[in-house]
């Protein structure tokens, strides 16, 4: 480039970009020596150098104070900033924590909490000689299986679109998981627990249903993992694979949530425990909200997205 008479001054010229605080509009810093090949991530790193508090993952840079967050890979050139007003707005997302960390902490709680109640400590239940029904042992096994499976999936299967989430979410999520775990475990492991009506005529089919739904959920997670090449953030439309459990993709956008709700419905029937029902309903509500969001994103991103699919419940919603 040196000594070259470039017609296109945009490529070689250095420019200044003003970084303003999204909430107050005040200037934080003026980045000079920015060129068209600099990425948004580069800008974030420079800002971080000046302000150690603003780690890149907690920065959201946008063209307007309330605009869309610019993705790290976008180049300054693609932003098409006019020479008269090269400014970007910075919004602090707050302290962040990695998704993996959050999941590991969230899921360890229910395992520890359920185990605590399963051991029927005297300081909770008083001294008791009541025997444990077979279904209580089975319920414990199911619960443990579910959360150990989640931990393993977090470590080996899931690929995350975002690296982090706000740290405030950790407290909110842990309260939900740990709180419900204690609530459900307290009653199932109680000395005065009552078996479901019709005993094993209900317990065993419900157990079978639970296992089927867990396998279904796992199949979907594995299929989604294969859909996204490692290290990328590529998104594509999921379709049924050789695994019969993945057939549910033809009917819903988020069959993993469908199977998850199925698992908990079976768990509730198996234990006939009202707190388990509440847990199932709460989980269904949250997953329905997430499924609706994901469904909307799929429709927006892919014009050829199958119209017959529903977010979470086949044929209905």
């Amino acid at each position: 480039v040196q000594g070259c008479q470039s017609d296109d001054h945009r490529i070689t010229s250095r420019m200044e970009i003003e970084i303003l605080h999204a909430r107050t509009g005040k200037q934080l810093i003026c980045l000079d020596h920015v060129d068209n090949y600099s990425t948004v991530l580069d800008l974030k790193k420079w800002i971080h150098k000046e302000f150690p508090k603003y780690h890149p993952v907690r920065q959201s840079l946008r063209l307007e104070p309330k605009g869309r967050s610019l993705s790290d890979e976008e180049t300054v050139h693609s932003l098409e900033l006019k020479p008269s007003g090269r400014k970007l707005y910075l919004r602090d997302l707050g302290p962040q924590i990695g998704w993996r960390t959050v999941f590991l902490v969230e899921y360890s709680g229910p395992i520890a909490a359920y185990m605590l109640f399963y051991l029927r400590p005297a300081f909770i239940y008083g001294v008791t000689k009541a025997k444990m029904e077979p279904v209580v042992h089975i319920a414990c096994a199911c619960w443990m299986f579910h959360y150990v499976k989640r931990l393993l999936e977090t470590l080996f299967v899931h690929r995350f679109s975002h690296g982090t989430m706000p740290i405030r979410n950790l407290f909110k999520n842990c309260s939900y998981y740990w709180g419900f775990a204690a609530f459900v475990a307290y009653y199932i492991n109680h000395p005065l627990y009552t078996r479901p009506m019709y005993d094993h005529l209900l317990e065993y089919p419900a157990l079978a249903g639970f296992v089927i739904n867990e396998l279904g959920n796992l199949s979907i997670h594995l299929a989604l993992m294969d859909l996204r090449p490692p290290g990328t953030k590529k998104r594509s439309i999921p379709y049924p694979t050789g695994n019969p459990f993945t057939a549910l993709f033809s009917l819903v956008s988020c069959p993993n949530y469908t199977y998850e709700v199925g698992s908990w419905i079976c768990f509730t029937i198996m234990t006939q425990c009202f707190p388990a029902l509440l847990f199932t309903v709460a989980g269904f509500y949250q997953m329905a909200v997430w499924a609706a969001g994901k469904h909307r994103n799929y429709l927006r991103e892919f014009s050829n997205y199958p119209k017959s699919r529903k977010p979470i419940v086949p044929f209905l919603f």
């Binding site: 009653y187 005065l192 009506m197 006939q272 425990c273 009202f274």
Partner: protein, 249 residues
């Protein structure tokens, strides 16, 4: 109406733009709301009246306060229960209030009347009831009469000022009364176990009304300051700099 037809046809003021904020209740809803607010203003005046009557006829403690619930019981129950309609109004959108917030406020009052005062004599005869009745009556008379005027497109500044000033004293008094009443209900609730489900049962769930009341009392700690300072904030917003505008009204 003729005026609406002209508007729709793009007459003097032009067609209504789709992005206009909600236009407010239609004429039928408006009439209903005026009726509702007048009735409730009258109702809470009635509550005040029977309470004062009782106080005048029994000026010595403890009957001055321990019998006040007996006198006011019926009017209180009728008019506090009618407040449930306000949730419906919010849900239908004929008033600008938030459904969740309204539900929460109405529920807490209705719970106090039917879940604390109604079942427990110990709560009925406590001083707390008088504090509640006093605080609630004054607040509600001001609130419902203010709404009545507002619906008739009059917004008397006096009422607005009272509404956003009296709460500073009435709110803490009311809350004190409520907490005292609930506290008095704790012992009989533990003993009589109303609304309580014990193990074993087919639902594998238990609910102890006594502990529930304790949780309610504890919930005042985070909730009351938030609600109080929300009103303080509203006061600053509405009458903080409003003295000049009031002259215009």
């Amino acid at each position: 109406s003729l005026k609406r037809n002209i508007m729709a046809a793009g007459g003097k003021d032009g067609p209504k733009s789709p992005s206009r904020p909600r236009a407010g209740p239609g004429p039928l809803a408006r009439s209903w709301l005026v009726l509702y607010n007048i009735v409730l203003t009258a109702g809470w005046i009635a509550v005040t009246y029977v309470s004062l009557l009782h106080v005048m006829n029994n000026s010595t403690p403890p009957t001055v306060y321990s019998g006040i619930y007996d006198s006011a019981e019926v009017v209180l129950k009728v008019f506090q229960s009618l407040a449930v309609l306000e949730i419906v109004h919010a849900a239908l959108g004929i008033v600008p209030s938030n459904v969740l917030l309204t539900s929460f406020q109405v529920f807490s009052r209705v719970f106090l009347v039917w879940g604390v005062l109604h079942p427990f004599k110990e709560a009925q005869t406590n001083l707390g009831v008088s504090l509640c009745l006093g605080a609630w009556s004054i607040t509600e008379i001001i609130r419902y009469s203010f709404y009545t005027f507002a619906l008739l497109n009059m917004k008397p500044y006096v009422l607005q000022w009272c509404r956003y000033t009296f709460f500073i004293v009435l709110y803490p008094i009311g809350v004190t009364g409520e907490l005292l009443a609930i506290y008095c209900a704790l012992a009989p609730a533990a003993e009589q176990k109303p609304f309580t489900l014990e193990l074993p049962n087919p639902y594998n769930y238990s609910f102890y009304y006594h502990y529930f009341l304790v949780v309610i009392m504890l919930s005042y700690i985070p909730i009351f300051p938030q609600l109080f300072f929300h009103m303080v904030h509203q006061r600053r917003k509405i009458i903080g700099g409003g003295a000049k505008q009031a002259k215009k009204d």
